[in-house]
């Protein structure tokens, strides 16, 4: 069994009277890429800062490599951190930025040279070593910021929204680079973002956070296919999931006078009945020929459509409630068109109305 690289037990953190993190538990195995995902203000950065030791926690314990580091200084924890604003030292060259921490820790000159050279090679910033941060592009700055964590030769990398200041193209490029870096180094990485594409593509596991608590911790596949709460289901996926308001009855899911069969649904805790939401992802809805094979079929009218290139998002009404689904972008539609759609609720998710938990 591999040891846990980072372990958080019962972490509490409050700013004065405002409780930001409440009894948070998290275990991160060695070498895992964990993404903390959540809406703005849910406490992602706060959690990361607690792990880094930049905030004094109110309660609980933090272990890194089985060492209790709850009260250790950030530099003693074996972590490296990359910030959203890069936080490079503006008056120093790239080389100075990379070596300042090492110099301060009294490393031998040759050792420093070697580490800087290695980081520069991995990140392809050798030609920039003598420049000041002001003379670098955003992507280059972020590379230097990663380099500063890299030279410290740490076990755990912490990233706080490192790509959110970059444009979309550069973001995609650097995302791939970070993934490559992880595959090469095999360090534990904890990565904060509110971009779900980043989360899905990078993560071994994703922790979805909401107001200071982890709502679900699981692989991207689990999070996408078996969201544990309605909030997670809403948060993940674009366009957002459809929620049909209804009741789980014996014959299936009843919404108005429509009944949707629930055969093959993977119940979390055995079949249940009662008021619920049925969540169906827009991309899981089939049309035309493909709809014929689905357990549930219905003829609908196109009310509105949004062409998005690869797909067209079609808005309609199902069981008296607004409903949207994806259609192949090449398929020509017009408002008022009638078509048959179908889906399999085994791929959907049911959430109890009282708890908002997966049924």
């Amino acid at each position: 069994m591999t040891a846990n690289s980072v372990e958080i037990r019962g972490l509490d953190l409050a700013f004065g009277a405002v409780e930001v993190l409440k009894d948070l538990n998290l275990e991160i195995p060695e070498g895992e890429f964990l993404v903390l995902l959540g809406a703005s203000g849910c406490g992602k950065s706060t959690l990361l800062n607690c792990i880094a030791g930049l905030l004094d926690i109110t309660g609980g314990q933090i272990f890194i490599k089985d060492q209790n580091v709850t009260w250790a200084e950030p530099s003693q924890r074996g972590i490296g951190m990359v910030f959203q604003s890069y936080a490079l030292y503006p008056q120093m060259t790239v080389k100075g930025n990379l070596s300042f921490g090492l110099k301060n820790a009294r490393f031998a000159k040759a050792e420093i040279e070697e580490r800087v050279a290695r980081a520069a090679e991995i990140l392809q910033i050798q030609p920039l070593l003598d420049r000041k941060p002001a003379a670098l592009s955003g992507g280059q700055r972020q590379r230097v910021a990663i380099g500063r964590a890299l030279v410290r030769d740490v076990d755990v990398f912490l990233f706080d929204e490192p790509l959110s200041n970059l444009d979309a193209k550069l973001r995609a490029d650097l995302r791939v680079e970070i993934k490559r870096l992880h595959q090469k180094l095999r360090n534990t990485m904890i990565y904060v973002t509110h971009d779900q594409i980043e989360a899905m593509t990078l993560a071994d596991r994703i922790a979805i956070m909401r107001s200071g608590a982890i709502q679900q911790l699981g692989s991207p596949d689990e999070i996408y296919n078996r969201p544990r709460t309605k909030y997670v289901a809403e948060f993940i996926g674009s366009p957002a999931m459809n929620f049909i308001d209804g009741v789980v009855a014996e014959r299936g899911f009843a919404a108005g006078d429509t009944t949707i069969p629930l055969d093959g649904y993977g119940w979390a805790d055995g079949p249940k009945q009662g008021p619920a939401w049925l969540g169906i992802r827009p991309e899981h809805v089939a049309t035309g020929e493909l709809a014929q094979g689905k357990p549930f079929r219905q003829e609908i009218t196109v009310e509105l459509f949004e062409p998005m290139g690869a797909d067209t998002l079609v808005w309609t009404t199902l069981a008296g409630q607004p409903f949207h689904f994806n259609l192949d972008g090449q398929h020509k539609v017009a408002t008022g068109d009638r078509m048959t759609i179908g889906f399999d609720s085994a791929r959907g998710s049911l959430f109890g109305k009282d708890t908002e938990l997966r049924l």
Binding site: S75, F83, A87, Q91, N104
Partner: protein, 321 residues
């Protein structure tokens, strides 16, 4: 070079330039003109009133027209560098210069250090920060005259600090800087610092607050101790604030006048005289404009020697870079 179709840069934003003309004229006439006038008259023997510089001579009449055209000039009242010679041979001026140096150097160094340290302390997210800030900034709301009077009392051996401490039982305690010619300027310095450091602190605090918190976090993760972070990262980042502060402190130093008048009136004897007081006294009390102008021209020269190389470095290099 092909410039067709390109607007002449002179005419770009023409209306804005026209609108700025009155401002430019005012600046030229009042600042440049006034300065030039002072410098010119410092070469004359003007006493109570500025004397006539010159007279036109040899007015000629052309034909029947009573048109006068001056064809020559007779310089009047010019005395060359005489005023300056006299200035530099006056003991009082030499004392003033020496005092300004001591006061200026100490005030510059101490204001910076105390102001920065106070700002750094206030920046530690302490409680009651606003209260502390207000208390420290409060003296700045007082005029130099009031400050001077307050400190005249505080440093008075019969009512002030000395008498209080003697009253506590330390009978031999002596602290009367204002009554000793050798250290009187330090007595003034204390009052000056008390009044001025608050502002410096606030400026520095604003500078510190302008620094990205993530820089601090990065330095902590790198294991850099706080003092090193200040010294090698934060202070270099605060260069613009330091320059502003430097200009404010330096201009205060050169102009120091009212504090002296209120606190010591230049005494004991002439031991706390300063250049600005010399200028004032000669112009308005000694009724010797020429001498006053010469002294103020020397002050201008001193400022120019400091400011011009600095401005050249600061703004000249930016254009190139």
């Amino acid at each position: 070079m092909d410039t067709t179709g390109r607007p002449n840069p002179l005419f770009r934003n023409l209306s804005a330039k026209i609108a700025a003309i009155p401002m430019i004229l005012t600046a030229l006439v009042i600042f440049v003109g006034g300065t030039a006038w002072t410098v010119i008259y410092s070469f004359t023997s003007s006493k109570l009133l500025p004397k006539k510089l010159f007279e036109w001579t040899d007015v000629i009449n052309i034909g029947d027209w009573s048109l006068s055209i001056p064809t020559g000039i007779v310089w009047k009242s010019f005395v060359g560098l005489q005023q300056y010679e006299r200035l530099w041979n006056t003991n009082r001026w030499m004392v003033s210069i020496e005092n300004l140096f001591i006061y200026g150097l100490c005030s510059l160094v101490l204001s910076f250090i105390i102001g920065f340290v106070l700002a750094a302390l206030l920046d530690q997210k302490i409680r009651f920060e606003n209260t502390f800030r207000t208390i420290i900034l409060y003296p700045f709301a007082l005029s130099f005259i009031v400050t001077g009077l307050v400190w005249q009392w505080l440093l008075n051996p019969d009512f002030g600090i000395q008498s209080v401490i003697r009253g506590m039982g330390f009978v031999g305690f002596t602290f009367d800087p204002l009554y000793s010619a050798d250290i009187v300027i330090y007595g003034v310095l204390i009052a000056g610092l008390w009044q001025g450091t608050g502002l410096i602190m606030v400026l520095m605090l604003a500078g510190l607050r302008g620094i990205d918190q993530e820089i601090w976090k990065a330095a902590r993760v790198d294991g850099i101790p706080a003092w090193k972070t200040y010294l090698f990262i934060v202070i270099p980042m605060m260069r613009p604030v330091f320059i502003t502060t430097l200009v404010i402190i330096a201009s205060g130093i050169v102009r120091i006048y009212d504090l002296i008048v209120a606190q010591t009136s230049g005494g004991p004897g002439i031991s706390s005289e300063v250049p600005a007081k010399y200028v004032y006294d000669y112009m308005f009390q000694g009724q010797n404009l020429g001498q006053g102008f010469a002294a103020s021209t020397m002050m201008l020269l001193a400022v120019a020697i400091v400011v011009i190389p600095w401005a050249y470095l600061e703004f000249g290099s930016r254009k190139r870079g």
